[in-house]
């Protein structure tokens, strides 16, 4: 398997930050009250992770081991602040929605974790790809969890889309269950833990099933009984 393919697979599935590494749970649990919230923060994180990995990787040989963590944090915090200021200046509407979440990215340990475990040891292009894919893996989990909580909690999907794309996007908000009175637990913090637990269980179940299938195939092909195979 090529390096790039492996990085992609690691980020999205094998080492998914949200449901396997369980890193960056603070925003995962706090922000995922709706699909739009989850994906918005996810995409902002993707950007920060790719930028952080891409910044650290070229200078990794100049960073002494003893001070690597302060340097990484410095770079990440500076990047997040730059992104925060830029969004505020050039996409004010988006900043009103995402504003309170952006500083949270600094404390998201997945960013530091990828810088430390990948960008500090690899060349820039794979590092940027790793940041992108790990970020997308997290975005996927944030979006799924946001969707689950929004659907169960409020009976809608994509609510708040108009806050990101302007009033015209309001027509894309789906009311899945009309006249739904809401299930508060899903929107409150316990809903985040329960939902994440279910996602982890679902992922593990799929992984186990895949492994069992692979083992079956292996057993069948090594049994030298071609006549029995369809």
């Amino acid at each position: 398997m090529s390096l790039y393919k492996e990085i992609t697979l690691n980020g999205i599935w094998k080492q998914n930050p949200g449901v396997v590494q369980l890193l960056g749970l603070c925003p995962t649990l706090a922000v995922t009250t709706s699909v739009v919230n989850g994906i918005s923060l996810g995409l902002a994180t993707v950007f920060v992770m790719a930028a952080a990995n891409g910044t650290i990787s070229p200078v990794r040989k100049y960073v002494p081991n003893e001070i690597r963590v302060p340097v990484f944090i410095l770079v990440i915090a500076a990047l997040v602040t730059v992104i925060d200021l830029s969004i505020n200046a050039f996409a004010h509407q988006l900043h009103k929605v995402l504003g309170i979440f952006i500083p949270l990215i600094v404390v998201n340990c997945i960013v530091l974790a990828r810088v430390e475990s990948f960008a500090a040891k690899n060349s820039p292009i794979p590092s940027i790809l790793d940041g992108l894919m790990m970020g997308l893996g997290l975005t996927l989990v944030l979006g799924l969890l946001g969707g689950m909580r929004e659907l169960v909690g409020k009976g809608t999907l994509f609510s708040g889309l108009d806050l990101v794309f302007g009033p015209a996007a309001k027509q894309f908000v789906l009311t899945v269950v009309p006249d739904y009175h809401g299930f508060l637990l899903a929107v409150l913090p316990p809903g985040a833990f329960l939902g994440l637990g279910m996602l982890i269980a679902a992922r593990n179940w799929m992984e186990i099933r895949n492994k069992a299938n692979a083992a079956d195939d292996h057993a069948a092909s090594s049994a030298l009984q071609p006549a029995l195979r369809p």
């Binding site: 340097v71 410095l74 770079v75 602040t81 200046a89 050039f90 108009d162 806050l163 809401g182 929107v187």
Partner: protein
């Protein structure tokens, strides 16, 4: 040996300092180039908010320039001086836009913006910032629910003091099941802000205290310039 350690320490410290310097320089640069656009979009957002709670055709001065600084006041709930914007139609003050803070929300302060007409009735209220539970207490935002509009046209004369409460506390204001603390705090804060307005009418409407106001002559001139520029447009 010890010399090596010192050398190493100096080198490490130097590297960290270099990173910090470069980082600070980049941040300073970004801060400087984004400051003007951020201020512009904030002013624009503020004006858009003003337009929501005070109709454009009721005044003709530049609200952002006609500002009054109000010292911390318990009725407004602010601990630092806040801004009041005075709306005028010609020479007559037609309304005041005040900031008020409710401290007894469910999570943190709720910052409100109120437009009060000269007769003491509310033109509109909006929530500026809050930290209430998403999906639960956030119906106070106009983007999510029209709840906040029930304060329009309310006043202390129209609604008796005892009715300034949510229906659950036998008042007259609606609330939504699941989040009572949030609307309670807002109803209370709005009532207190109205009280502040009534107690400080001379200051707010006639600008009796001139120490933190621009001289009224200048303002008149500004008004004229404003209306002229409007004509020119």
């Amino acid at each position: 040996m010890s010399e090596n350690i010192i050398k190493h320490a100096i080198k490490t410290a130097g590297t960290l300092t270099a990173f910090a310097l470069v980082g600070t320089a980049i941040l300073a640069y970004i801060f400087i180039i984004t400051r003007a656009p951020i201020e512009a979009s904030e002013a624009e957002a503020r004006l858009a908010l003003f337009a929501q709670i005070l109709p454009h055709d009721t005044y003709n001065n530049d609200l952002l320039k006609s500002e009054l600084t109000i010292p911390p006041n318990a009725l407004l709930g602010n601990h630092v001086p806040s801004k009041a914007n005075i709306a005028k139609l010609g020479d007559k003050t037609v309304g005041v836009i005040l900031e008020a803070i409710a401290h007894d929300g469910y999570a943190g302060d709720i910052k409100l913006l109120l437009a009060i007409r000269a007769d003491g009735s509310i033109s509109g209220v909006r929530v500026l910032t809050h930290k209430e539970t998403p999906g639960l207490g956030d119906y106070i935002e106009i983007e999510r629910n029209a709840w906040i509009t029930q304060f329009s046209n309310e006043s202390l004369t129209k609604t008796a003091a005892k009715d300034w409460a949510v229906t659950k506390d036998s008042g007259k204001f609606e609330y939504m099941a699941g989040a009572t603390i949030t609307p309670r705090a807002i109803v209370k804060a709005v009532a207190k802000a109205l009280q502040f307005f009534n107690e400080n009418k001379p200051l707010l409407l006639e600008n009796k205290r001139t120490d933190n106001m621009q001289p009224s002559k200048d303002e008149k001139r500004e008004d004229k310039a404003q209306s002229q520029s409007k004509v020119a447009k």
